[in-house]
């Protein structure tokens, strides 16, 4: 057989596969640039930094995606064989590999540091002193909200006092509990006022998810976990559970209201207090 040497051939299979990859690239560009479906409306300060971080990662990885998939598609179309053409024999290029390795590591390290600044701003800084503190207790299948009231002190809770209406066992005889309110499934906060959540669970792991605020924290039985954030866009939003917790996981939702002013919040608070 003759020693075949010829350029790569454009073949039907190669072109079709390259075309499918092109569709993939175009579809992904459409989805991530035109954004027909995107993040829920942003309603928190912290959320801005998460969205920005996502945007940076999107650009970096988007470029990598388009370039790599594009090259793959191009090579597939360009380098087919339809007779006895021979491939090139080269199979090493230490310099190119070193450059690519170092380049990738540098880009990823930069992303790590950028991400860490955002992470630190949530977890390694304390909530401001004027934060609204709410104790949130997840259970199968509802979110319970315990507010401390104007005295700023939470009444004690005791498992033995739990009833169908007193779902966290609030001890009404405890003086600080007098102005506390217990609400199931409804949470209010005030725009631009920091909120500190103390998260607990009565039974299994749940996850406190506020999609619009970019807040998510697992509620773990046996743990009390504190997170804080600043809501900044008044409106009505939803609360979801983001960790499989049993049969009713899908309906473990709550209603979040970000009141435009402290006065609006106080009105709601007074209504709830009257019903305790």
């Amino acid at each position: 057989m003759a020693d075949g040497n010829g350029p790569g051939r454009v073949t039907l299979s190669g072109v079709v596969l390259a075309f499918l990859i092109l569709i993939l690239i175009l579809a992904s560009l459409y989805l991530f640039i035109a954004k027909p479906y995107w993040f829920p409306t942003l309603a928190s300060v912290h959320g801005e930094s998460i969205d920005s971080l996502f945007g940076v990662v999107l650009i970096v990885s988007g470029i990598a995606f388009v370039v790599v998939q594009g090259l793959l598609g191009f090579f597939i179309a360009r380098y087919g064989q339809n007779g006895s053409e021979r491939a090139a024999y080269w199979h090493d290029n230490p310099r190119a590999e070193a450059i690519l390795l170092i380049g990738t590591a540098v880009i990823l390290t930069v992303l790590v540091f950028m991400g860490q600044r955002v992470w630190a701003s949530f977890y390694f800084t304390d909530a401001p002193a004027d934060a609204l503190v709410v104790q949130v207790t997840g259970e199968q299948f509802a979110w319970n909200f315990h507010y401390p009231g104007p005295d700023g002190a939470f009444g004690r809770t005791d498992n033995s006092l739990i009833t169908a209406t007193n779902t966290i066992g609030l001890d009404r005889n405890d003086p600080p509990a007098k102005d506390d309110i217990l609400v199931i499934g409804q949470m209010h906060m005030v725009a631009d006022r920091p909120v500190k959540v103390r998260l607990r669970s009565k039974d299994v792991i749940h996850s406190f998810f506020l999609p619009n605020l970019r807040v998510k924290q697992d509620a773990v039985p046996g743990m009390g976990i504190e997170i804080w954030f600043v809501p900044n866009k008044s409106g009505a939003y939803e609360i979801a559970c983001a960790e499989l917790c049993g049969l009713g996981h899908y309906r473990m939702k709550g209603a979040l209201t970000i009141d435009a002013s402290q006065a609006d919040f106080d009105n709601w608070y007074k209504e709830q207090l009257a019903q305790q």
Binding site: G8, T11, S13, L17, L20, I21, L24, A27, L31, Y37, W38, F39, P40, S49, F54, V57, S61, F65, V68, Q69, L72, F75, I76, Y79, G80, Q81, E85, R86, A87, A88, Y89, H91, N93, E97, A105, L108, Q116, W119, F122, Y123, E139, I162, K202, D203, V204, I205, P211, K216, D218, V220, G222, I225, A242, E243, L244, G246, L247, H249, Y250, R251
Partner: protein, 591 residues
């Protein structure tokens, strides 16, 4: 010659049962694993079709479904508990009983002795035992589907306390116990296999087969076996601790003060739910590499063969697999960023996770470098290998978002995660497995699969998997949570529902197109075109130097001698565009 060895060569003709069922021949055992894994794939796939039906039309009444599944669809709508059982069983079956089994058990068994030049595994009886324990584990997990109190519903990740307290959900009683039992049996099977593979590859390579002349398939199987030996025991231990919490009154994972179904859970204190997650993911993260590494190894070898070009930078391909395996043990916390784990640990795991992206990127560049300047033969096997590269890139890149802990806050437990792990842990390995099946089928069965049907299978599958899984990124960005029986319960998710419908329809078409493969595979075993040459693909590795299928003992009277690496394609000045590993180096020197 010891007795066992003498017996091997002088035994009388084996009966049907000893030859094809209770065989200790690695080739038969490999095929047994393949077929059993395929059966599990069909079960796991059907479960996902039901899931997609529910997600697309969560509130539609279906009298037909009520007829077929009177309990699960009572009243014409799926029961929420059934949905979560589907999710749990689909994930469990696919990760363990399909992917780990088909790649490590199926291809590992068939290929290792052949590609290293050995007659069989180091421990043939142990090998057979590993298959029968695996089959038993399949039967146990399958039976969990039919438990009257309900199939398990803890997700494949079985987080405590949901998995540790039998009354936490229906199905968490007997169903969950069966789940733990099946997983324990599976890990036992995996450990047996892992011991065999490591011993065989390290000690039974034929003369001339140095480590750096091994095909990448073998490197990947060796590294995977080591990962399995280190990781599976942790899962086994965690499962045993979980059984003790459930039945033995212990509190490894259970703190005091749990109120379940309005009743205090007595008799437990001092345990921590996060301990389960640490143990599970310490195993779970290496596990995903146990799935992807053999896929990478096989895809690399198949890609090189059909590009008619050496794999780009073989050395770096080996080193990067070793780096991935080593790093895989220090990234597990990226599954736990919002779990309540210390945020400081979250920072550490972000660093290690983005580090592990580096060797994966190297491998991707090397696949590109292989295709650049190639002369590609677009066989079904070659197409699947090319598809693997595209899918791995897509799945890998979404990992960058998730590894960045702060971005993961919003994306954790959403469909962005589902998209990521399906592409990178399920679909890419699936394509590598399909490529492997089309490639090695002639060697296994002495017949070809039908190439036209194979290509049709590829085109439909490649389009289908992207149609199903790419839009899921968008669902996750929009906030759709995982394991949610009815997304339309949430106002903020309702506008995205058309995407769910699109995905489900694509999934049904994708599922149906797999029937083409099944028809081709089983039909070709009996009626495929017979293979008349040892090496129909003009490949270089040792299995292509023997008949199709190889005889008992694999190689004739003398074991082969290896003279070169596995990638001598398109060597300049050579008559053929490939040189098998057994061809002495002097042949080249003449030119």
């Amino acid at each position: 010659m010891d007795d066992a060895h003498a017996a091997e060569h002088h035994h009388p003709q084996l009966g049907f049962w000893r030859k094809y069922v209770f065989s200790t021949d690695h080739k038969i055992i490999g095929i047994q694993y393949l077929i059993t894994a395929m059966a599990m794939a069909i079960v796991g796939g059907l479960l996902s079709m039901l899931m997609r039906y529910q997600l697309a039309w969560p509130t539609s009444l279906s009298p037909i479904m009520a007829k077929i599944f009177p309990v699960a669809f009572s009243g014409g709508i799926m029961e929420p508990g059934f949905y979560i059982s589907l999710v749990t069983m689909h994930g469990t079956i696919m990760v363990f009983f399909l992917f780990t089994a088909v790649l490590t058990g199926g291809f590992g068994n068939f290929l290792i002795p052949l590609q290293i030049g050995a007659r069989d595994m180091a421990f043939p009886f142990l090998n057979a035992l590993s298959y029968w324990v695996f089959l038993l584990s399949c039967i146990v997990i399958f039976s969990a589907l039919f438990v009257t109190s309900g199939a398990p519903m803890g997700g494949w990740t079985a987080y405590a306390p949901l998995s540790a307290v039998p009354q936490a959900a229906p199905g968490q009683a007997t169903g969950m116990t069966l789940w733990i039992t099946a997983i324990a049996l599976f890990t036992a099977s995996g450990l047996m296999g892992g011991l065999n593979y490591v011993t065989t590859i390290l000690t039974m390579r034929t003369r001339g087969m140095s480590m750096m002349r091994l095909p990448l398939t073998q490197w990947s199987l060796l590294i995977t076996a080591i990962l399995g030996l280190l990781a599976f025991p942790v899962l086994l231990a965690a499962g045993i601790l979980l059984l003790f919490d459930r039945m033995g009154g212990t509190s490894f994972f259970l703190p005091a003060g749990i109120i379940m179904n309005q009743m205090p859970l007595a008799g437990h204190a001092g345990g921590h739910p996060l301990l389960w997650q640490h143990l599970f993911w310490f195993f779970g993260h290496p596990e995903v590499y146990i799935v992807i590494l053999p896929a990478m190894g096989m895809a690399s070898d198949i890609l090189s063969t059909f590009c008619r070009k050496p794999i780009f930078s073989y050395r770096m391909m080996v080193y990067s697999m070793v780096a991935i395996a080593a790093l895989s043990f220090v990234v597990w916390g990226h599954h736990m960023f919002v779990s309540g784990m210390s945020p400081f640990l979250g920072s550490v795991f972000t660093l290690t996770t983005l580090l592990i992206a580096v060797p994966s990127a190297i491998k991707t560049f090397n696949w590109l470098g292989t295709v650049w300047g190639a002369r590609i033969r677009f066989t079904a096997a070659g197409l699947f290998a090319l598809g693997f590269v595209s899918l791995f890139v897509s799945g890998g890149i979404s990992g960058i978002f998730l590894g960045t802990s702060a971005a993961d806050i919003q994306l954790q437990d959403t469909y962005f995660i589902v998209a990521h792990f399906h592409l990178v842990m399920a679909i890419a390995p699936l394509f590598a497995a399909f490529g492997g099946l089309y490639f090695w089928f002639p060697k296994m069965f002495g017949r070809f699969m039908n190439e036209t049907l194979g290509k049709l299978h590829f085109w439909l599958s490649f389009t289908g998997v992207y149609a199903v899984f790419f839009p899921m990124h968008v669902l996750g960005i929009g906030g759709q949570m995982r394991r949610i029986y009815d997304p339309t319960q949430y106002m903020f998710l309702v506008p995205q529902q058309p995407v769910n419908v699109f995905i489900s329809i694509a999934a049904f078409i994708l599922g149906a197109s797999q029937l083409i493969f099944l028809f081709n595979f089983f039909g070709s075993i009996f009626g495929g075109r017979r293979v008349t040459e040892y090496n129909p693909w003009h490949a270089t590795t040792l299995e292509w130097s023997v008949p199709s299928p190889p005889g008992h003992g694999n190689f004739g009277v003398e074991l082969p001698t290896v003279h070169r690496w596995a990638f001598d394609f398109a060597v300049p000045g050579e008559k053929e565009d490939f040189i098998p590993q057994t061809v002495p180096a002097t042949v080249q020197a003449k030119h």
